[in-house]
Amino acid sequence: MGCGFQADIRYPACVTNHPEHTPRSTILRRAATLATAVPALLVTSLTAPAFADAPAQWENNRPYSPLYVITVLVVIPAALFALITLLVCLPSMMGKGKGSYQPGQPWRSEPEWFGGPRGGVAAADRTEQPLAVGGTSDHPDERGGASGRW
């Protein structure tokens, strides 16, 4: 950490935290700034508002009645809005009442058996006797599983 070590560190150029500004470069920079800013300012300040008349060929239309204007601009868009909203919401509104069974309600419909035999529970009642008796008497505790309540 002595002075001898400091002497070994050499930078390729003179290192300083003040940028080197010569008077000449400062003048050049200011001139360039002026040269770009003045034309821009001139152009934007010199413009006048554009005046234009409707072309003479355009015929002078009759004024519309307020009722007509309200119909076209308010009533028809509102009706379209309501119609599209209804069309979007209708399927889910119809589906909600039918398929939303909540657990705990009495089960009023037929049982659903996913992946079961073709005949469903009726087939189970018809065919269960030999299978169940044979299956359970041979290996009574071979089957596993678990039960639960909620």
């Binding site: 039918k98 398929g99 419909s109 037929e110 996913f114 359970t136 596993g144 599983g145 678990a146 639960g148």
Partner: protein, 127 residues
């Protein structure tokens, strides 16, 4: 759709897809019964299980939403990879979903979980 159907077509499709995915995942047969169980739920579930095409390789899930009952029966062969403790875990997951009022979600989740447990890593170095 007939009146009083418990599931919409989309929900039915969801359960069907869960069963199909489970079967492709672990190569056991899954079957889900949703409805009122006749008499005692456990014997009824075992009776249903016995009527399946291949009971030894089958897992039957019985859900009685009105009585808030849940039974899972595993066949002898399926039980070798899916022991009762693992089945009980699936039961717990399904119970919490059902208690929250999500019947279809609970069934789908339970079937998926059973399949995950029943899946055994493929043995690549066997004789």
């Amino acid at each position: 759709m007939a009146a009083g159907e418990p599931f919409t077509a989309a929900q039915r499709h969801e359960i069907d897809r869960a069963i199909r995915d489970a079967e492709t995942l672990c190569r056991y047969e899954f079957s889900v019964f949703v409805g009122r169980s006749e008499g005692e739920s456990r014997p009824f579930a075992e009776r249903l299980h016995a009527t399946l095409v291949a009971p030894e390789r089958s897992v039957l899930v019985l859900v009685d939403p009105a009585a808030k009952l849940l039974e899972i029966v595993t066949g002898t062969e399926a039980r070798r990879v899916l022991d009762d403790a693992e089945v009980h875990l699936a039961v717990l997951a399904m119970q919490s979903a059902f208690a929250a009022g999500d019947l279809v979600g609970g069934i789908v989740q339970g079937v998926q979980q059973l399949a995950e447990h029943a899946r055994r890593p493929q043995v690549r170095h066997g004789s």
